[in-house]
Amino acid sequence: MTPEDLRRLFLEELSRIAPDIDPATVADDDHIQDDLELDSMDVLNLVSALHEKLGVDIPEADYPQIATPRLAAAYLAARTGEA
């Protein structure tokens, strides 16, 4: 998957967790907690969804590395071995 695919998948899962977020309105540097107001339970649900979709198990210590769509795309690209 390209980083662009991963970014799109990240946003898809994000809007599944939080159906009131329109992925089209999310900027690359929007922080999922500070800007998009996800709470810790939402973040866990997002991490679970990414685990299921990509097989990437994101440990708690790495949560800061998926804090924005841009960071997440890069992180997921590295973890899926296609960076």
């Binding site: 939080a18 009131d20 107001e37 709470d39 810790s40 866990l44 685990h51 198990d57 708690e60």
Partner: protein, 404 residues
Amino acid sequence: MGVFTMPSLGSDMESGRLVEWLVAPGDRVNRGDVIAVVETQKGAIEIESFDAGIVHELTAPMNEDLPVGTPLAVILAEGEEPPAGPTAPTATAEPAPETEPVAEPERPAPVAEPERPAPAVPVAASPPAQPDAIRPASPAARKRAGELGVDLTGVSGTGPGGAIVLADVERAAPTAPRPAPNPVEEMRKAIAAAMTRAKRTIPHYYLSETLDVDPAMRFLEERNADKPPTERVLLGALFVRATVLAAAKVKEMNGHYTEESGFAPSKEVNPGVAIALRGGGLVAPALADAVNMTLEETMSGMRDLVSRARAGRLRASEMTRGTITISSLGETGAEAMTGVIFPPQVALVGLGAPHLRPWIVDGAIVPRHVVTLTLSADHRVSDGRRAARFISEFETALKTPEAL
């Protein structure tokens, strides 16, 4: 005898919703006393009595849209004999149970606009007669007709003197009647009603304690390290477990209080979990009978509630069965919160976000993550000593997270 009616609080108000009585039959009221709370599109508004005397009868159902002018109560003058038979037409619908409105159903349009009560003091001159050419219509009806493109000359009026009222316009409109209420606005109204009621009727008192949560955080870090995301547990779940165990021991914090029957402690502990919604608003759906849940079951129940709250799929029972509420500011944010109790409950546990602070452990100053717990409790039901006991039980439970 005075008939207390749904007042008009503005020309655009066609109806209001009676949300609270502050009097009961037999109560003495003075002119100007606040006797009821009516929720309108502009929020909850206190309604004063125009009469002095004794409340004889409350005649209107609660929590239903009632057209302006609907008789709500009968107030007898001092020494006046009650009239024979029902004094005012009682609305036909069953009163809705007094639960916390969170998602209001779409309101039915009022069927007719009854006559407004005559002003107590006659105005200087009668209003000029309507010219024949202009059909009499209420201001709201005119406004709505404009919005819907309805020509009033073709509408038959059912109001006083054949006046056209809002419902007539909507009946005449070719398409769907009034738009669905804006859920964010409706939510705001529901919160306003519940919180206003809480602050007006519950004598809140508050006790706070700052707790060292490092043991709990270390426990979770180790526990979650080798777990897939779906099996991880958050600090919030430990807080809910600690609350449930404390509430099971300190029964004055767990149950419902009603004006009619006072405090009824609950056998079950059903912790309501406050969930902030994007775009504004707050819901606090409850887990059922959580005492015997494991930490994992508690966590999974909370995840389920949060997911369904986001998707707007909470169940009515979850909205009403809560016996105590937990409101946590999460992992980042302010360090303390003094919350408003969610009626008819009698306590709310407010938890600030963990902050790193200098702390004294075994005589030495060390950095520790601390959380400030503030218990809001109902003084009609309990006193500070019991609240202190609750906090102490909570703290004890949190000290041994592996036992939660």
